[in-house]
Symmetry: D2
Subunit: 313 residues, 4 copies
Amino acid sequence: MPLTPEQTAEIDRLRAETTPTLRPTVPALEEMLYHPLPVLDHGFVRVIDYMGDDGAVVQAARVSYGRGTKRVSEDRGLINYLIRHRHTTPFEMCEIKYHVKLPIFVARQWIRHRTANVNEYSARYSILDNEFYLPARKHLAAQSEVNRQGRGDVLEGAEAERVLDLLREDALRNYDHYIEMLNEGAEGGKLRQDRSGLTRELARMNLTLNFYTQWYWKTDLHNLMHFLSLRADPHAQYEIRAFADVMLNTLDRWAPLTAQAFREHVMGGVRLSATALKVVRRMLAGEKVTQPDSGLQPREWRELTAVLELEAK
Amino acid sequence: MPLTPEQTAEIDRLRAETTPTLRPTVPALEEMLYHPLPVLDHGFVRVIDYMGDDGAVVQAARVSYGRGTKRVSEDRGLINYLIRHRHTTPFEMCEIKYHVKLPIFVARQWIRHRTANVNEYSARYSILDNEFYLPARKHLAAQSEVNRQGRGDVLEGAEAERVLDLLREDALRNYDHYIEMLNEGAEGGKLRQDRSGLTRELARMNLTLNFYTQWYWKTDLHNLMHFLSLRADPHAQYEIRAFADVMLNTLDRWAPLTAQAFREHVMGGVRLSATALKVVRRMLAGEKVTQPDSGLQPREWRELTAVLELEAK
Amino acid sequence: MPLTPEQTAEIDRLRAETTPTLRPTVPALEEMLYHPLPVLDHGFVRVIDYMGDDGAVVQAARVSYGRGTKRVSEDRGLINYLIRHRHTTPFEMCEIKYHVKLPIFVARQWIRHRTANVNEYSARYSILDNEFYLPARKHLAAQSEVNRQGRGDVLEGAEAERVLDLLREDALRNYDHYIEMLNEGAEGGKLRQDRSGLTRELARMNLTLNFYTQWYWKTDLHNLMHFLSLRADPHAQYEIRAFADVMLNTLDRWAPLTAQAFREHVMGGVRLSATALKVVRRMLAGEKVTQPDSGLQPREWRELTAVLELEAK
Amino acid sequence: MPLTPEQTAEIDRLRAETTPTLRPTVPALEEMLYHPLPVLDHGFVRVIDYMGDDGAVVQAARVSYGRGTKRVSEDRGLINYLIRHRHTTPFEMCEIKYHVKLPIFVARQWIRHRTANVNEYSARYSILDNEFYLPARKHLAAQSEVNRQGRGDVLEGAEAERVLDLLREDALRNYDHYIEMLNEGAEGGKLRQDRSGLTRELARMNLTLNFYTQWYWKTDLHNLMHFLSLRADPHAQYEIRAFADVMLNTLDRWAPLTAQAFREHVMGGVRLSATALKVVRRMLAGEKVTQPDSGLQPREWRELTAVLELEAK
């Protein structure tokens, strides 16, 4: 993720000068504004702009003429109430904009969240940098045997070595060929006068899915929480979770009351089905319930006993 | 639209204190931030918050590390290019939030724009004020005879008087009954101890569609322009156009380069159909074209000759 | 809700003739296609069209070349899995279209669901019928004393009489004046030759919020369930719940496996916060937990003990 | 694009049996339902399902109890009117669902259209086939010299050969390594017992962007036209245009009146800016206008004279 000196200078310039504003401002977030927060081997998340704060949620919920906020304890109570009862629209009144550098295969998962605004770096128009993702050793996992969509043990020894060699060599070779096909003399590539060079919009197809792209991504506070609830979740692929975890930290700074309510009611909470709820009621009434007489499928039973921290029998 | 002293004081409080920010700031918009801009007889538009400016459009289009802006002439050229070629995503990177007070029948048209965020004052929860819209004399129009969805001449004399009397008396009476049914002693209503009072969520149904409601409404720059292109248009009902016109002025302040390109290419521009384009080409080649041999329907022909400022023959 | 003979004839015509199709077809839903299902005093819900079925959910989840369905038990298992793990996109592959007649104040709540398509009867263009909602006696509730957004006891005797009289008389009078102002001789109104008539787009503002409007409303299966989870919920206002309940029945016919999973995991389920989950774990481990040492607010504690069917102490 | 015998059999099964329905049916579209329409070297578009037709547009615009359609000429007139005046909501009442097989770099452009529903084949869950896009010779273009986002002349001779060799060899090699890393014995790959195999969600990152993926993609008629207006346009990259062109043909079959109006007013039409409109008016009034006194930028002037089929001077 080392930025070029020019990029660092641009960021320094942005951070050098403040202007006065009448808008709500969040000092804890301003502290990190524009700074790249590193993710994976070459990626980052930068907070570029934001609008609103916890107070703006309260203000919209009350449709007030002023800030709308009262004492912190009342605001916290209201925000908790809104999240618990799925009153989502007041959280849509805040907006945040990120600049993200991420591998293409992560971008393909991320873009499925449609209630957001995106401007991606265009490889039709520009030439991509020679940067690709290589997993750290500890993330080089085997296919899970129980979950077709998950990871198992970490690869070891020669196999790990071989996998990393293949990923690295193929990415490097494909990038070299990309530059050769472009024939623009870019990235130190040799420029041959007897060739025209392939158009950029075609040459890019030779790159592998671990190459880094970047985009501006903007969403509102409600949809950010929805994104995080799915992508900062243990079921999400590690590589996108790494981004979501960093963004969860930016949420803590930006809107701490909302972040707390979100962690309490959504991230840390659990949903019980109608049948699971009946099981819990029977257990609390002193009944001994087993899977066969629970009405739950074996898999559901395992998940329930795990979440309740019961010995599964 | 006279605000209560408490409301005015709240706004003054908001305007009394600036904080420093690293975010892009638009002084011309800050000047009017929080101030109510009057619309119709009791309505208003207030800019509550904003995010981004012309520079943010450029920054997103370039996916840059810094502001992304260059010389004003280059930025203007790029913004013009984006609007002309319908590259809409960079304009989604800016966001604006309004507080609007508007008649319910206007709110019902407005809400059809779905790509926006809304928090409306809840008459399930609170009691509405005794404020309703009465058209000014010059807007009291007859039904158009040529356009089933438009206005004709202004009503005159006794008829105008009668219409205004009916609208006023019915609104006043229905509001009195609303307060009576609520039986909360609100708005100077008599509180009867032998009554329970009808629940607010039902009592509100006795109000007429010209009563004022209010909401926080937030959208991005692209969708704001889309809204304005439809609602600041002569085909829009006058009452919603009155709001759109005021918002168009806030756009001029907020993002002047974008506003200029929008007026040039969208508001002031015109769309020609394939057949109309052929007609123009023939005319420019010196041919004399008449409706019957134009391939256009009579109505389309009239619209085309009007837009080209030709004598319709 | 009595339809005119013309309307009934139109519906009969639609139901008289089938055509063969290669598309998936749901006989249980075809049975009620086009028929108005009565809601409230003058409203209805009509299923107008649909696309897909339970099988289409499975097909999309598997991205298959054929139907994608296997044995019913496997399909049921997959659909349950998708709902439990919030894989919502396969449910977006089915679509349903309703024609709904509903009071305006209900329409104003309903329209807040933005991920849907709507075409409403235009009172700018046409004249509304003289039909308005009057609550049945048993729904004429007082304001709740504990919930500012809910209903309390039913009004009785003279108060109920008075409320119904006011609602009825005001609606009738306002409608008469609406017709008078229009001066089109509509609905038996007297046509005065010395008057022009107020334009429809203005005259409508004299109507009260309990007048009926109608619209075509179309959404996908995922967003239908989201709508139902909020509007067929006991916290929703009775009048919109009456519509949602009828639509829930159409869901049972349309996609029975999905409907079952939805009732099990969403409608009949419950969300526990992180703290509530800890409380349940402690209780199941045999600990005696009280509100003060639960970490829950009194209100949250009451809700939790209610949901667990414990004696609140 | 050769389907496997199993896939062909599944499609034949779907096409073998019709069921009667009361819904509107479009025989011209049923004729091609489920059949793969070939695009590029291995891609296809299959119409999987649809809802509504031209009549459903009319029905929604009229909010009618029956079909709502009258004589064809009246329906055509109404549909033309709706498109000319940007009344888009009636077109949202029809829905179409496609199964598409397409290169990943095309999918990345396509997915930017957010008002659609998508289920993509998951390479986290399954193994991708060994199919990748190689441009036909005539589409192997050089970078445009005038348009940074376009194509110039076709590459020739040795350069074309070299580009195709690189693309083919890199794709083949990367796929072999993908299979090797998976170590599942898939696609004829050797299964080594001393290896665990890399998890699928990581192995896929070694594939290049020209590999084919597939998805179910569903949208409404309005958003389909918006998609086509941008992607069946000469400015779109050839590879996505190839898909859009095929889909434009499905539109012709599905909703011929709408398709005709769309071609007349959108695809074949042109937008003039305020200044361009003034120029045309001056020209039609007999004035000789040149670029310097037109008020247009040189580029705008060139575009205008081209569209008007004037000699640019």
